[in-house]
């Protein structure tokens, strides 16, 4: 899909909503430490604010048990400068982030070992979209919003429907979702999100230089993206997974009632319980009804 058309963006004023992954299960096993990561990100956020005096930054923390706003550059508390040096931003962001992490940890319950531990990405993405809608409502002159996801946790398959809903809503409102994956494997959700909405997806090879990746790829405003070579989407896999085995398939059977995907022909849909080949009001045998054979 082509990137978001730049002719819509006559200005380079941007609003960047950053979704920060704070999942403790991911950070405990990551090669980059969380404090180093934060120093890269804070420098990047500062740089965005200096690119244009009207730029705005909002940070939402994606935790393991909850999500919350930790920073909004347009709120009154954050606009003043301390002694002309670094703005108040750093201290208030770090303080709110620490409070969030403490609250998030307190919400933890006992979980069985061995399960994958995804963060609540769909929650923070939905909150970001609600905030962006508020910006759209604020009048004709507003910064052009985009979402930047800094994720390292694995994808949680239970969030698939919610994330796809959020992606389609972002596509409808022309909000690109950029994503920078800092984990070890690959995130299909982030690739699809960036591809469908016209954003940029990148997985940095060397995490020590994260600040450079962020500045050269993700700091570009939407208007300038047509003049700059950004990483192109490579091999986005849109094949579906079957509901029975979770294998990726390229040809399958779809239940006409609930659109569940199966790799083999079944007699009954496991999701909605419809019996195939018969009208749904009849339960077991209906020999007088003509059986429609599925297309081969």
């Amino acid at each position: 899909m082509a990137s978001a058309p730049s002719k819509l963006y006559a200005d380079d004023v941007s609003l960047v909503v950053v979704l920060l992954d704070t999942n403790p299960f991911f950070w405990s096993s990551s090669s980059l430490s969380f404090s180093q990561f934060l120093s890269h990100v804070l420098a990047f956020l500062n740089a965005i604010l200096t690119l244009n005096q009207l730029n705005q930054v909002v940070v939402i923390a994606t935790g393991y048990n909850s999500c919350d706003y930790v920073f909004d550059s347009s709120s009154d508390l954050n606009r003043s400068f301390e002694n002309g040096r670094m703005p108040v931003m750093c201290s208030s962001l770090l303080q709110k982030l620490e409070e969030f992490l403490i609250t998030d940890e307190q919400l933890s319950k006992e979980e069985p070992e061995g399960k994958i531990k995804p963060s609540l990405f769909s929650g923070s993405l939905s909150m970001a979209l609600c905030y962006i809608q508020r910006v759209f409502r604020s009048g004709a002159l507003h910064p052009h919003p985009r979402i930047l996801c800094l994720q390292g946790s694995v994808d949680g398959p239970e969030q698939y429907v919610a994330i796809m809903n959020a992606i389609f809503s972002a596509q409808r409102s022309s909000v690109p979702i950029d994503s920078c994956y800092i984990g070890s494997q690959n995130s299909a959700f982030l690739q699809q999100a960036s591809y469908i909405t016209g954003g940029v997806h990148h997985k940095p090879q060397n995490l020590d230089g994260l600040f450079q990746y962020l500045m050269t790829i993700f700091a570009t405003d939407l208007h300038s993206r047509s003049f700059i070579h950004l990483p192109k989407p490579v091999g986005v896999d849109f094949r579906a997974s079957c509901f029975c085995h979770k294998n990726t398939i390229d040809m399958g059977y779809i239940c006409s009632v609930c659109l569940s995907i199966f790799c083999k022909h079944h007699k009954k849909c496991s999701t909605c319980g419809s019996v195939f080949g018969q009208a749904q009001s009849e339960a077991a045998s209906a020999s007088d009804k003509k059986r429609k054979t599925p297309e081969t």
């Binding site: 579906a240 006409s256 195939f276 009208a279």
Partner: protein, 413 residues
């Protein structure tokens, strides 16, 4: 001059035709008030103070009424997701009437275009066909198919109106076509009727019974006045009948048919449909595209069964007939299967309860929920996660996002 103009403003300002005459006699400063009489949008509250009409609260209460009427029955109603819809457009003499500006048919064409795009956006696996009624005869303008551009282009070329309208001929034609579609599809007809009569060759009641037996759901949107035969048709087949009052109402009515209607279980046989999920063709590969019959480089998809090249999805492979879709197309319909519960209004008794901890900001957009006077303003609450949301987020969440941010931000054990 002012008094005369004032009298004329009161009587004639409503009609667009006379506006030019009226405005010609007014001073420039008076012209700004002919369209917008801001003093009329004031209301008196209980203590006799004037305040402007709260449009936002009105809009939100309209929205909540509509939501309540739509979800009045059980929350999980099965919807017909694979739809085969015929749009029947009446091109009789009555469609060239000018009570809708510039003419009824121009308004219809414009909104049908919007409807077709919205329909394919919400129902990517469905197909549409267009039938026109002109001079008492029904013609099939476009065959049933899945490409919005071909329907819209065909429609925009043929908008001349003449002759009578015949409801029975249209229904017979549509019935014939819809009997050929697969049994798992839901058959629907949307009739946009401008005429006030129908000239039929036979007994229309028989045709209506035939449609009912073929399980076709017929809906009608009238542009003139309510007609018994349309109402009877819709009641017999389980569709909806509405009459448009003006252009914006017509747009609202036609877009109500874009989301899938509640399915009647016996109407469509459940079936497994074989579909392919093609991958993008490798960059730089050259192949002959089967829809345009010319060589294309790179872009496009390869059918997994016969390896033919297709340009866009969703489509049917030209060579082997396999339906080709991508997983986002299926995912677009999942929100119909997993709808979120409507939010409840926060009652004033709840707000005034001092024991209840008040949430100051909307959970979604962080907008303050307090009035300028620091009193709690209108808000809604999610019945599951108990988070508060502002009215605008409520509308956005239910109409576009289909996710509750509060529920998604809490881990369920």
């Amino acid at each position: 001059m002012n008094n005369g103009a004032g009298r004329r403003i009161n009587g004639a300002a409503e009609e667009d035709d006379d506006e030019d005459d009226v405005n010609g006699d007014l001073d420039a400063w008076e012209r700004t008030y002919t369209d917008e009489r801001s003093w009329e949008s004031l209301q008196e509250d209980e203590s006799g103070m004037l305040r402007p009409i709260d449009n936002q609260a009105l809009y939100h209460s309209q929205y909540r009424r509509r939501l309540r009427s739509l979800s009045s029955t059980a929350a999980r109603i099965q919807k017909g997701l694979i739809r085969y819809l015929y749009i029947v457009i009446d091109l009789s003499r009555a469609a060239s009437e000018m009570d809708f500006r510039p003419s009824r048919i121009a308004v219809i064409a414009k909104h049908v275009e919007t409807f077709i795009r919205e329909f394919f956006y919400q129902n990517p696996l469905s197909q549409v066909g267009i039938v026109t009624i002109k001079d008492g005869v029904a013609h099939c303008l476009t065959d049933i198919g899945g490409s919005p551009e071909s329907h819209i282009n065909a429609l925009m070329k043929k908008l001349e109106c003449s002759g009578d309208s015949s409801l029975q001929n249209a229904l017979d034609l549509v019935d014939g076509y819809l009997n050929q579609i697969p049994s798992y599809g839901h058959r629907e007809v949307l009739i946009l009727y401008s005429a006030l009569s129908t000239c039929d060759p036979g007994d229309i009641m028989d045709t209506i019974q035939k449609c009912r037996k073929s399980k076709i759901r017929c809906s009608v949107i009238g542009l003139a006045a309510e007609m018994f035969i349309c109402k009877h048709l819709c009641q017999e087949t389980g569709g909806t009948y509405s009459v448009a009052l003006d252009e914006s109402h017509f747009k609202e009515l036609i877009l109500e048919h874009a989301p899938p209607p509640p399915a009647i279980a016996e109407f469509a046989v459940a079936n497994l449909i074989k579909m392919g999920f093609p991958q993008r063709a490798a960059e730089g590969s050259i192949s002959i595209c089967s829809c345009h019959k010319e060589a294309k480089v790179g872009a496009g998809y390869t059918c997994p069964r016969c390896k033919a090249h297709a340009c866009e999805l969703p489509t049917e492979c030209c060579v082997c007939g396999l339906t080709l879709v991508s997983s986002p197309h299926l995912a677009r319909s999942y929100h119909h299967l997993f709808p979120i519960a409507p939010f409840d209004e926060v009652t004033s008794s709840h707000l005034n309860n001092p024991n209840c901890k008040l949430q100051r900001n909307c959970f979604g957009c962080q907008q303050s929920l307090l009035d300028p006077g620091n009193k709690p303003g209108p808000a809604v609450v999610c019945p599951k996660c108990k988070r508060y949301f502002c009215l605008d987020c409520d509308i956005y969440i239910h109409e576009s996002l289909h996710n509750c941010p509060g529920c998604d931000s809490l881990r369920h054990s």
